[in-house]
């Protein structure tokens, strides 16, 4: 548990309006309809804002960022 993880969880929770993402970080966000494609874009923009990490919207496949843990991993790879 560290700061980056917490901030990403907060971002996902804020954008999706679902708090359960904090508890279940391997939940498939798209399958569970917690994120849709537009919200995923919002998330990329928010990540750029928060961490300065720029991920082009077409850079990653959905399977590469469909859970909170995967999103955290993708951000950390680029920090």
């Amino acid at each position: 548990m560290n700061d980056i993880d917490e901030r990403i969880v907060a971002l996902v929770a804020d954008i999706s309006g679902e708090d359960e993402v904090a508890e279940e970080r391997d939940l498939d966000l798209f399958e569970e309809r917690i994120l849709d494609s537009m919200a995923a874009i919002e998330l990329l923009v928010a990540i750029k804002d928060e961490f300065g990490v720029s991920i082009a919207p077409t850079e990653l496949d959905r399977e590469e960022m469909n859970t909170v843990n995967k999103i955290i991993a993708r951000v950390k790879e680029r920090l």
Binding site: I15, E18, S37, I41, E42, P57
Partner: protein
């Protein structure tokens, strides 16, 4: 020769598919063959009109040169690369914009069939070259990508990276056989949609209103069948294109995924004309949102998203043509998406009930009413009659 409608097109497909299958099943690469066939088919598409043939050829060549120039700027890390990038984007989009405006004043304004779809593809390639995602696509591969005949006239909108990966893949016989089977399946389904589904919907559109009396009911029935026809016709084209693509070894993205099952308007756009909605999402909505958030143009992220939806969908509407009907259609869907987005973000009622069965049924009914009203706008059943 028109694609997917003229008998000559379907006759020509027989040898094209047989040779492709022979190459694929003997594990030979399909790229050169597919490219040659595509260029020959484009010649047949345009040969009856010399201006269109010349325009389309020049457009293809100019696009390839433009791509090569942008790629050189970014691989060399040229100090003026961003200026070059914006210049290239403007040059790439200008013919389509000029055409859409030009036809308002002069119906035979220069253009060619497929100019919209080729513009989408070329713009994606330029933007992703800037993003550093496209580095080694050759000019030949790019020419094949732009001219790929199954999707040339009516989509789905291809993306260059998966396309090039497919062209380069050395498919084993089993892998090719899998694509061939799926390709034939999609093609047959598409043909059934187009020639049976769409035909029935068109029949319903003139027959049923002729036997019902009340004008309001006539309007409702016409719109209902019009919407169904829109779906069967377009999904039919798309699925046939997908099938042909697979036979040539290319995975063409799916354009329609049971759109009438959508239980909310966002889901509808994840299922309807998906290659266009995802393109707009990636290259308009996303770029706009990032631009607006970096400059803090709006007080909150939700408002940015709402404005983004509005711009995105209005552009989508106008892309079909600069007319009051399409403009209002785009605006309408932008407003629906923005409104629904706001509701999703703020409504406690939504959060409490959204997973319940009854809620989903009600939401589905409302979504379908909204969607079919959208079709009525698109088909000119609302705005045009009001204006005239």
């Amino acid at each position: 020769m028109d694609f997917f409608t003229e008998p000559a097109f379907f006759v020509l497909l027989v040898p094209i598919v047989l040779v492709a299958a022979a190459l694929g099943l003997t594990e030979r690469p399909l790229g050169h063959y597919g490219c040659a066939v595509s260029l020959a088919m484009l010649y047949l598409l345009f040969f009856r009109s010399v201006p269109a043939l010349v325009y389309a050829s020049c457009y293809l060549v100019a696009s390839v040169l433009l791509y090569r120039w942008v790629r050189t700027l970014f691989t060399r890390d040229d100090p003026n690369k961003m200026r070059g990038y914006y210049l290239a984007l403007a040059a790439q989009i200008a013919p389509l914009v000029l055409y859409k405006i030009g036809v308002l004043f002069k119906p035979d304004f220069p253009g060619f069939l497929g100019i919209s779809y080729i513009t989408f593809k070329a713009v994606q390639a330029i933007i992703e070259t800037r993003d550093g995602l496209i580095k080694d696509m050759s000019c030949g591969e790019y020419l094949y990508f732009l001219s790929f005949f199954p999707t040339f006239t009516s989509g789905p909108i291809l993306r260059s990276r998966p396309f090039v990966a497919d062209v380069r893949a050395n498919l084993s016989r089993m892998d090719y056989l899998d694509r061939l089977y799926r390709g034939i399946g999609w093609f047959v389904l598409g043909a059934a949609y187009k020639f049976v589904g769409s035909a029935i919907a068109q029949w319903g559109m003139w027959f049923v209103p002729s036997v019902v009396g009340a004008p309001a009911l006539k309007w409702l029935v016409t719109v209902l069948f019009y919407g169904l026809d829109l779906f069967f016709d377009f999904a039919g084209y798309s699925d046939m294109a997908m099938g042909l693509g697979l036979v040539l070894g290319i995975e063409v993205p799916r354009n329609f995924n049971l759109p009438f099952l959508a239980t909310d308007i966002k889901e509808f756009w994840d299922r309807w004309h998906m290659s266009l909605s995802t393109w707009l999402r990636d290259f308009v909505f996303m770029r706009f949102s990032r631009f607006a958030m970096e400059r803090k143009l709006f007080p909150s992220r939700h408002i940015t998203a709402c404005v983004g939806f509005g711009i995105n969908m209005t552009l989508m509407g106008l892309w079909h043509g600069i007319t009051p009907d399409y403009f209002v259609y785009g605006l309408y869907h932008g407003a629906l998406l923005a409104g629904y987005h706001y509701y999703q973000q703020t409504s406690k009622f939504y959060k409490k009930h959204r997973r319940e069965r009854w809620y989903q049924v009600v939401s589905w009914v409302i979504t379908m009413l909204a969607v079919f009203f959208g079709f009525a706008l698109f088909g000119g059943y609302v705005v045009s009659p009001l204006l005239s």
